[in-house]
């Protein structure tokens, strides 16, 4: 034991603990709330520091689905993919996902250009049908997101949701709304630790408390830059634990979105016979990507396939056993 202790690292700083969701006593309506972050060691090194919170899985729910969805998703989510409210309810209650991540991609001018009121009605309906906190993502078009997300932020004031993403070139509008309405925010940087740190400073300069920021480091799926994402997360985390408060935020990793974009998760058995069953291949691509991100220090994984969610949830439960 004495020799073992000599090898253990001692870190000086804890990652900021971010609260997701607010119950009725705190001005919200969530029955389930979570904390993320708060750790003072690298993942699962329980002897080196405190790890008060386990990584969470957020089930990704989209307000509209592209026609070319891979077979694994198309078949297994067929019953819900046209109804985001039911989709969210089912994922929150049946799949083992801890919370829901609603991506409003139908707002995008190229993907339907849905009006603001539709998005607001959808968020309201989803919140009514789930007990957990909600992550709300815009469509990626800066103008549309700056119009819609602040309105949703105001309408859900006090719920302590997680809104995203802001980037260095466009952060003020959504950040100001989240500050005013008591929400958390996702700060996105393009696999770049310097930009991640700079964006946190910019957010802090306009008054965003450091314990309401979650870093989206941007990841690549297995085979598509996963190792690079891993190294950036590791570098940010080691700087944070060594005392850099401007990088000591939890991470959110968009696993579902990235892994189901991989060729290996999409192509059919006929086109890729040596890859085996296309459905299972897609699921495993998501599982392996997710597990690498868990080991890299992800605090929230957003995932798509219910089977992948079950496998990763079970693995996280095992890893959290001390």
């Amino acid at each position: 034991m004495a020799d073992e202790l000599k090898l253990l690292e001692k870190w000086s700083l804890k990652v900021h603990e971010v609260k997701l969701g607010a119950g009725p006593s705190a001005g919200g309506s969530r029955e389930i709330i979570f904390n993320i972050g708060g750790q003072s060691s690298f993942p699962f090194l329980f002897k080196e520091g405190d790890i008060p919170n386990r990584p969470l899985i957020a089930a990704e729910v989209l307000d509209c689905v592209e026609d070319d969805w891979p077979v694994g998703l198309r078949t297994d989510l067929a019953s819900v993919s046209k109804d985001p409210v039911e989709w969210a309810r089912k994922m929150a209650s049946d799949s083992g996902a801890d919370l829901v991540c609603l991506k409003l991609q139908g707002l995008h001018p190229d993907l339907g250009n849905k009006p603001v009121k539709d998005a607001m009605a959808l968020v309201e309906a989803v919140l009514k049908n789930i007990k957990t906190p909600l992550i709300i993502l815009g469509c990626g078009s800066a103008d549309k997101d700056n119009e819609v997300l602040p309105a949703i932020s105001e309408a859900t004031k006090g719920e302590r949701l997680l809104f995203g993403d802001v980037v260095s070139e466009n952060y003020k509008t959504l950040a100001a709304a989240c500050i005013a309405d008591g929400h958390n925010i996702i700060a996105e940087s393009p696999i770049d630790v310097n930009i991640a740190k700079q964006l946190n400073i910019l957010l802090s300069d306009i008054g965003m408390p450091l314990d309401r920021i979650v870093i989206n480091p941007t990841i690549g799926a297995l085979g598509y830059g996963l190792e690079y994402a891993y190294s950036i997360m590791e570098r940010a985390k080691s700087a944070a634990l060594a005392g850099d408060k401007m990088l000591a935020m939890p991470f959110i990793c968009f696993v579902g979105q990235e892994s189901w974009r991989a060729k290996e998760a999409k192509v059919s058995l006929n086109d890729f016979p040596q890859g085996g069953n296309a459905r299972m291949r897609g699921i495993m691509w998501e599982v392996v990507t997710a597990m690498a991100m868990v080991e890299a220090g992800a605090d929230i994984l957003t995932m798509r396939h219910p089977e992948a969610i079950k496998i990763v949830k079970s693995a996280i439960t095992d890893l959290m056993k001390r």
């Binding site: 630790v193 310097n194 700079q198 400073i201 940010a236 005392g243 408060k245 401007m246």
Partner: protein, 265 residues
């Protein structure tokens, strides 16, 4: 780098007067200013004019403690003054300093263990300061041996290679830089290193330029702690930048602001 603010020092006439007149506001304000500027610790020195070093040290520590709970670096040649400071401080202290003489090491090591304080050891003995690197290394080894044999944690020990002014001992300055590195190889875990930075420019013109140039160089050689003027912004900014270049902190465009925010300044 661990920054120890140097300004509460009885060598300064205003501080000496404040100690004599028991001017608490002056001392507290000087403590606050240094902490607000980023000092991790404050040096406390009653100065050579003090007639009651223990009483003055106790008064200084009690006065500063009303303002700041940071580490205090109790700076005196008198063991009774250091012990008075340790007694009065409710928080962590640094004993500054012992020499390599066994009789002094015995007294200060025991005191540091009793009060769980860090200990600064100067690489000199009753014969004086060795003029060459080897002489200093020998004394450093003697200090580390003593600490090891007496169960004092080596990573709570700061070795001070003794910085002399550039206009007195210019030929020794590069040797000081090398010693900062060499001290680290003397033991496992390695000791820490500390310098009283302002000595390097004592009696010179362009003091600030000399101070900050030497600090950046010492930082590159791995210096752990320095007693310096934290209100000298160019000095602290140069140090912050040197730590970026050494990859000790992560770059971002607003790196000065990032450093300050990380320190709650």
């Amino acid at each position: 780098m661990f920054i120890i603010g140097e300004l509460i020092n009885g060598m300064d006439q205003r501080v000496a007067a404040a100690i004599k007149e028991k001017n608490k506001d002056f001392i507290r304000s000087l403590a606050r200013k240094q902490v607000d500027a980023g000092a991790d610790a404050l040096d406390v020195n009653c100065g050579p004019a003090s007639r009651d070093a223990a009483g003055d040290m106790r008064w200084l520590v009690e006065t500063i403690r009303k303002e700041a709970s940071c580490v205090l670096c109790l700076d005196s040649t008198k063991p009774e003054a250091i012990e008075a400071g340790l007694e009065a401080s409710a928080h962590k202290c640094v004993i500054n300093s012992t020499s390599a003489d066994i009789s002094r090491l015995e007294v200060y090591c025991a005191m540091a263990k009793k009060y769980k304080a860090f200990l600064v050891a100067l690489v000199m003995d009753r014969k004086g300061v060795p003029q060459d690197k080897d002489g200093k290394l020998e004394l450093a080894a003697q200090i580390l041996n003593f600490a090891q044999e007496n169960g004092f944690p080596l990573d709570e020990l700061y070795l001070d290679p003794i910085l002399l002014p550039i206009n007195v001992a210019q030929n020794q300055l590069f040797g000081i830089l090398e010693l900062i590195k060499d001290f680290k190889s003397l033991s496992t875990p390695a000791p820490k290193t500390l310098l009283g930075l302002s000595n390097v420019s004592q009696g010179s013109k362009k003091r600030k330029l000399i101070n900050r140039t030497f600090l950046v160089m010492a930082s590159a050689y791995g210096l752990d702690a320095a007693i310096l003027d934290p209100l000298d912004q160019e000095l602290t900014r140069s140090l912050i930048t040197s730590e970026l270049i050494l990859n000790k902190s992560i770059y971002c465009d607003d790196f000065i602001s990032a450093y300050n925010k990380s320190k709650n300044i």
